[in-house]
């Protein structure tokens, strides 16, 4: 795939993500938080963020 085409595809994908319903974006945010936590822990560092819902009472 040509570079120009890759960048166009990426741009369109980002536009689609921005247009998602907010509830779905929140689900994506929590997935991002979990991924960040797992990567930080796997690299032996201390995770100082908070994964939402994980501590829900």
């Amino acid at each position: 795939m040509k570079t120009e085409s890759v960048s166009k595809t990426k741009k369109l994908a980002r536009q689609k993500l921005a247009a998602l319903p907010f509830d779905r974006k929140l689900d994506a945010l929590i997935s991002l938080q979990k991924t960040a936590r797992d990567m930080i822990v796997a690299s032996g560092r201390r995770f100082s963020g908070i994964v939402w819902r994980a501590t829900a009472k």
């Binding site: 741009k11 980002r14 536009q15 689609k16 993500l17 921005a18 247009a19 998602l20 907010f22 509830d23 974006k25 929140l26 994506a28 945010l29 929590i30 991002l32 938080q33 960040a36 963020g49 908070i50 939402w52 819902r53 994980a54 501590t55 829900a56 009472k57």
Partner: protein, 173 residues
């Protein structure tokens, strides 16, 4: 009516407003960025707010006392945990932040009526803060064509709050 993960925190904040413990508030920070653009990593739910004042003094303690009374726990840097979401109350300082709060838009999030900073003010605040995480989010907002962005208003805000130089620097990087 759907009550997603932000439903309960927003209900609690609305309860604080109804009880006159907060005068006004709007969603800001990473969650506001998430509202307008693609999913972006954030850990805090930032609330830009106006506390009742006595002269120049801001006293947030009635809010914190009420939250404690409701059984919510406080974490680092005055974050309060409401159903697993770390909430941070940020007083709207004079100037840009205050105007941003005044111009916030009414929206419904997770089934709850609330207000959110306009994207142009959010971008201006991020530019003003200029931390790496703010610049990253600003880049996502500015460079996503599906974000409805009033460039005239943004330019006007930059002009009035002396942010043109920072904007120039941001675009050079």
């Amino acid at each position: 009516m759907s009550h997603g993960i932000l439903g309960k925190p927003l209900q609690v904040i609305n309860q604080l407003v109804a009880g006159n413990l907060l005068l006004d508030y709007a969603i800001g920070g990473g969650v506001a960025a998430l509202y307008y653009t693609e999913p972006v990593l954030t850990y805090d739910f930032d609330i830009i707010c106006r506390f009742p004042t006595q002269g120049e003094l801001i006293d947030p303690s009635p809010v914190y006392n009420k939250l404690k009374e409701l059984g919510y726990n406080f974490g680092v840097e005055d974050r309060v945990m409401i159903q697993g979401v770390p909430l941070q109350f940020i007083p709207a300082s004079h100037g840009l932040m205050e105007e941003a709060l005044d111009k916030a838009l009414p929206v419904r999030i997770c089934g709850v009526k609330t207000r959110i900073l306009r994207v142009e003010y959010l971008a201006a605040i991020m530019l003003n803060l200029y931390r790496p995480k703010d610049r990253a989010k600003l880049d996502l907002i500015i460079n996503n064509e599906s974000v409805s962005f009033d460039h005239g208003l943004f330019k006007n805000i930059l002009e009035r709050y002396g942010l043109n130089e920072k904007w120039k620097r941001f675009n050079e990087n």
